[in-house]
């Protein structure tokens, strides 16, 4: 099978692209989208959470235009030293006023990607999921300026400041919806591609030598992972959920966007090759991504027996 193959007809419609949480690793979703578009697979709606919302918002302006813009966005962010400097990042994280500084940098990049586009009248229906820290539940943002929706949805604690909006304090959608599948189904999706960049896991030797704050970050991504896995298993009982995953990587390393995009593309192609039969019945479809996954990173497996169709 090659990139000329059209695999657009093999999905129950409407088809949703769901772009999950993963901070810097969300760059890989751009490669995944390229692989899907290369086989003619186009979404009827897109749902993003956390940094996946950047990609969702861009796709809403039109798939082809969105993908081109996104590649540039992630490459620009990778070489913006004000953004990627670890030292400045730590200072911004520890001092609330400085994290407004991060917000300014991020907003600037977002604005050159999204302009003043609106989600209401977008060519592709889109929704960005944020967490309201007051009520503790997921909030779906599908109206208003795309930039504002992403600023709220991607406000990962310590990286970007939460957005106060009326009675709500909006932050990282990943806190309660790292894989916003139920939101996609609620919007009418009858099949879903989950662009999953939230894998966690590391070698045992690495796990032995974690610093105290690294252990805290690991716990955060473990909590995200256990939610995403439970959600995938649950929603896969209702509709086909096709999962494209990249292996675990650093959440905060924005410099490797280029190789992340290549890895995403590769993962997408591999999955689409395996999916030559198409999807119709509800279930979880995916390709086991090597050692990391088999070492147990599919979390809360016990919630539901997960049937991974590793047909490659």
């Amino acid at each position: 099978m090659n990139d000329q193959t059209d695999q657009n007809s093999q999905w129950p419609r409407p088809l949703a692209f769901v772009l999950g949480a993963g901070m810097a690793r969300a760059a890989a979703q751009v490669g995944m989208i390229e692989s899907l578009v290369g086989r003619g697979v186009r979404p009827d709606l897109v749902v993003g959470s956390s940094w996946g919302s950047v990609n969702a918002a861009a796709l809403s302006t039109g798939v082809d235009q969105g993908v081109t813009g996104l590649r540039q966005f992630w490459l620009d962010l990778a070489v913006d030293r004000a953004w990627t400097s670890r030292f400045r990042g730590v200072i911004r994280a520890l001092t609330p006023r400085r994290s407004e500084g991060s917000a300014d940098i991020f907003r600037e990049h977002l604005t050159s990607l999204l302009g003043d586009s609106n989600l209401d009248d977008a060519p592709v229906r889109a929704c960005c999921v944020a967490t309201d820290l007051v009520s503790g539940v997921a909030v779906e943002l599908s109206t208003g300026r795309a930039v504002d929706a992403v600023m709220a949805s991607a406000a990962v604690p310590l990286l970007l400041p939460p957005v106060v909006s009326g009675d709500q304090i909006l932050a990282d959608g990943g806190i309660v919806a790292p894989a916003p599948l139920r939101q996609a189904v609620a919007l009418g999706a009858r099949s879903v591609v989950l662009l999953d960049v939230g894998a966690c896991g590391m070698a045992v030797d690495r796990a032995r030598s974690l610093r105290w704050y690294e252990a805290g970050i690991a716990a955060y991504s473990d909590l995200l992972r256990s939610q995403a896995d439970a959600e995938s298993a649950l929603i896969a009982e209702r509709v086909p959920v096709v999962v494209i995953s990249t292996p675990p990587g650093e959440l905060m390393n924005f410099r490797e966007a280029d190789s992340a995009m290549s890895a995403g593309r590769e993962a997408g192609v591999k999955l689409l090759d395996a999916l030559s039969e198409g999807v119709d019945a509800p279930g979880l479809y995916g390709v086991c991504a090597g050692d990391q996954r088999s070492s147990g990173s599919r979390r809360l497996q016990s919630l539901r027996e997960i049937d991974e169709t590793a047909s490659s």
Binding site: P96, V134, P157, I175, L210, G216, S226, S297, R299
Partner: protein, 329 residues
């Protein structure tokens, strides 16, 4: 002004047997598993819940716990008959210095920034060996399991054999604060990162009825408190995540088993504040005792689904779970 005393009335309503116990056990599908959640100093809530349960005829066929819930669970699994009295003794003496040492911040802050954990687990190891007589799982009289998070894979891991103290230390190794503990060659940390309330693992291990002993919560913060400081913000984020994880666990368990969620107080202090443990236990005893009396007042088998107070809509937001409200009278 000091807060009001919490002292339950001597004989609440409900159907009691000749021995004075509320009869509930025959209406539960065996095996019955007690699920004990983590929560630091809020673990004292479970002492109050076990007090209330001791006024019923419910006895666990197995116990599973995470973090402080694993500690309480191990005490109960050693000798269920004396669990309430022994927990009273433990909670009367337990404080932060027993778990982290006397001067853990002062001694270590210079090296802490680059180390694997801010505190050491030797004080906790000492405390555990003083509290428990058992050293291995096989010495316990009720089958017991402790939940940890495998640091490398991030997955929940269930321990039910071998060294008990190591498993408990690992289960309560709060990420960043206490060091991971190596079990079978793999580092393990607090189960809070994967299954703080291990209700679904209990069902997977064969339980048909799950009695949930949670640890209560702090009051919901006002909006401006949340953004007051970075530490407040992070505290709120973890509490929202853990609430969401609890919903997922209860939902996943209540699809296939009878799940009884005992009510817990929602106005507790910090999870590392050991000064209010007596008060937490008194409040949870009062709440759970009324709940169990109301439950004893209903009739028939307790069916698959979530049995809880009406305001506990936690897991039903996810749909597909049968809700059996236990109405207060």
């Amino acid at each position: 002004m000091p807060s009001e005393l919490v002292v339950p009335a001597p004989r609440p309503l409900g159907v009691r047997g000749s021995d004075g116990q509320w009869r509930i056990r025959d209406r539960l599908d065996p095996p019955v598993c007690f699920v004990m959640a983590g929560g630091g100093a809020h673990g004292a809530v479970q002492w109050g819940l076990l007090q209330a349960l001791s006024e019923t005829d419910i006895v666990p066929d197995s116990i599973i716990g995470t973090s402080v819930g694993a500690l309480g669970g191990a005490i109960a699994a050693e000798d269920f008959g004396s669990a309430v009295n022994r927990l009273a003794n433990v909670w009367a003496q337990l404080d932060l210095s027993r778990l982290l040492g006397e001067h853990w911040i002062g001694k270590r802050w210079m090296t802490a920034a680059l180390s694997g954990s801010l505190a050491d687990n030797e004080p906790e190891r000492k405390a555990l060996t003083e509290i428990l007589s058992a050293r291995t799982f096989s010495e316990l009289t009720t089958p017991f399991a402790a939940v940890t998070t495998d640091v490398a894979s991030g997955a929940a891991r269930i321990h039910d054999s071998g060294d008990l103290i190591d498993a408990l230390l690992a289960s309560s190794a709060i990420p960043g604060l206490l060091p991971p503990v190596t079990v079978d060659g793999r580092p393990q940390m607090d189960g809070l990162a994967s299954a703080n309330l291990p209700a679904r693992p209990a069902v997977d291990r064969g339980a048909r009825t799950v009695i949930v002993l949670d640890t209560g919560s702090r009051p919901e913060p006002a909006a401006d408190e949340i953004v007051e400081s970075q530490s407040r913000l992070i505290g709120r984020v973890f509490s929202v995540m853990s609430t969401q994880q609890r919903r997922i666990q209860l939902h996943a368990a209540a699809r296939d088993a009878t799940v009884v969620v005992l009510p817990t107080p929602d106005d507790l202090g910090g999870t590392l504040d050991f000064r209010e443990t007596m008060g937490s236990a008194a409040k949870s005893f009062a709440l759970a005792r009324e709940f169990l009396a109301d439950l004893a007042g209903t009739s028939g088998k307790l069916e698959v689904g979530l049995h809880c107070r009406r305001d506990e809509s936690v897991a039903t937001a996810l749909g597909e779970v049968k809700l059996w409200p236990v109405v207060a009278r």
